[in-house]
């Protein structure tokens, strides 16, 4: 089986193609104009035929394909089952569980609106909120970590405001801010600010005092100790805080868009749900999943780069 394992995804693609062609579509599903699902299967079939062949010349690609073969085959099997269950036999109500054909159709025909308008709008909101929340979180975290006065005044505030889910502020924010965009930025900033502040200050509090002592005997003054010793040493903690903030900012973004902000991908999903266009809802979810996956991967890349000195220590 070892040598043939790499062909499993091709087998899964062929099986899906055979079922798609052999079984008649259920009359309960509205017919789609183009067989996008078949195209997608043919495309993946071609890829999983060509890749192992290319792998003959690139041993590392072949190794990777072999390791991932089961996963790729299972993914194709999953869409195959999905297609048979919906498009072929209509086992679930077609209005809530549309055929893969129609979801792909929305992704293709609505691409410019979904990505060009909604995703861009969401991205603007997310980045504006994330950037301000991150800066504010680092600033308060460092202040609380290094200054007794700041800690005296800000710590109770952090404990009081921090645990409130940012989305609970939506009713207030909608009336307090002139535009929903500004309100959204504030909410997302809040959701990044809390974990960043908390982990930055506790990261700094956890830095071994000996590092500060050594740096002072090397001639470092207060400023240098903060920016060249305290903050770098607290970086592993800070990244955990920023990671939590990032995840929480995704939740806040979606909720804010569904409840108040009148555009963006979250709003799109909610709007399409109200119109009972579930194919569009799923297309929106797919766009969100891919974008957030991309952002999280980017986050881990940055972390691995900044924390390269910790290699072999970090385990998350």
């Amino acid at each position: 089986m070892g040598k043939l394992a790499v062909w499993k995804p091709l087998g899964a693609a062929l099986a899906a193609i055979v079922l798609e062609l052999a079984l008649p579509n259920s009359p309960r599903h509205p017919p789609s104009k183009y067989p996008f699902f078949l195209y997608a299967l043919l495309l993946s079939g071609t890829i999983f035929l060509a890749a192992p062949l290319a792998g003959l010349f690139r041993p590392r690609l072949l190794d990777w394909l072999r390791v991932k073969a089961d996963f790729h085959a299972a993914a194709l099997l999953f869409v195959n089952i999905l297609n048979v269950a919906t498009n072929k036999y209509a086992l679930a109500p077609p209005i809530f569980f549309p055929a893969p054909d129609r979801i792909l159709g929305v992704l293709i025909f609505d691409f410019s609106y979904l990505v060009g308008e909604c995703l861009v709008s969401s991205a603007k909101l997310l980045f504006a909120g994330f950037a301000s929340g991150l800066l504010a979180g680092l600033a308060t975290g460092v202040a609380v970590g290094f200054s007794k006065r700041a800690s005296y005044w800000i710590n109770p505030l952090i404990r009081l405001i921090g645990p409130i889910p940012p989305t609970a502020w939506i009713p207030l924010v909608l009336v307090a801010f002139p535009t929903t965009f500004q309100g959204g930025v504030f909410l997302i900033a809040l959701s990044v600010w809390f974990p960043t502040t908390l982990m930055t200050s506790s990261g700094i509090a956890n830095v071994e005092n000996a590092y500060f002592e050594v740096s002072s005997t090397l001639g470092a003054k207060r400023r240098h100790q903060i920016f060249r010793v305290g903050i770098p040493a607290a970086m592993p903690f800070i990244f955990i805080g920023v990671f939590n903030g990032t995840c929480s900012s995704f939740i806040t973004l979606m909720t804010a868009e569904m409840l108040g902000v009148k555009n963006g991908i979250g709003w799109y999903i909610n709007w399409q749900r109200e119109m009972l266009s579930y194919a569009n809802v799923y297309a929106g979810l797919i766009v969100i999943a891919l974008s957030f996956h991309l952002l999280i991967s980017l986050f881990f890349k940055v972390r691995d780069r900044v924390l390269v000195w910790q290699k072999g220590v970090i385990k998350w």
């Binding site: 071994e208 005997t217 090397l218 060249r228 770098p232 040493a233 910790q310």
Partner: protein, 273 residues
Amino acid sequence: MVAAAERKAAPANERPGRIRVENVMKSFPQNDGSTVVALGGVDLEVEAGEFVSLIGPSGCGKSTLLRLIAGLNPADSGRLLLDGREIRGPDSERGLVFQNPLLFPWLSIRDNVAFGLRSRGIYKERQEDVDEFLKLAGLEKFALSYPHQLSGGMAQRASLARALVNRPRVLLLDEPLGALDAFTRMNMQDEIVRVWRERGTTMIMVTHDVDEALYLADRVVVMSPGPARIETVIGSGLARPRARSHPDFLHLRARILRILHFGGQVKEPSYQI
């Protein structure tokens, strides 16, 4: 106190790095409200360019004295002077190396060594110094490595280079070799002697190891605990380079061990094996 008389007779020394400790007291408050006296009126003079070892049992205040000279803790009373100026707080003119190398793990070895120059804002003018001291420590090839990639001995050499690149007047060593294995330790002792002879930096070293104290120092200061005071100062007068098996060395070693009550019971004065 022959050594003291000799020093007074010597002509005034122009080299920087002269330490004076005058009747210094230091106590630490405990959790139960009482205080523990760590140093009870200590006097010590270290000449510029001299190598002095502080030795004594745990808790005899050696490290406290070193921290006071480094400026990390203030004295309760008495005065500490470097070249006639009172010591107030830590400064790059007094380098300190601990038993734990305490390299900054987020900086490469080169950046660790450059840390002092950067924090004093003189890195640009003196960057060649960084390479010079990396070479002195035999770490040119590890300039771009991170601390976790170094062995214990290499890390401690990097730590020494980091303190020395500031060209301090005094280098304070708090059991710098305590965590190393015996062979690395003896190698490092030779390296410290080499650096000391080349640079002429005043060195004050805390150690638990009688051999180490004798092998390195011009004078061995034996301290006793509770509250700490200076028991005896032994001017070693041993010729350099030193041999650990020379009869003079063994004689002084036996003397120090006796002062510390580790002399043992000698029943047969002659060789038995």
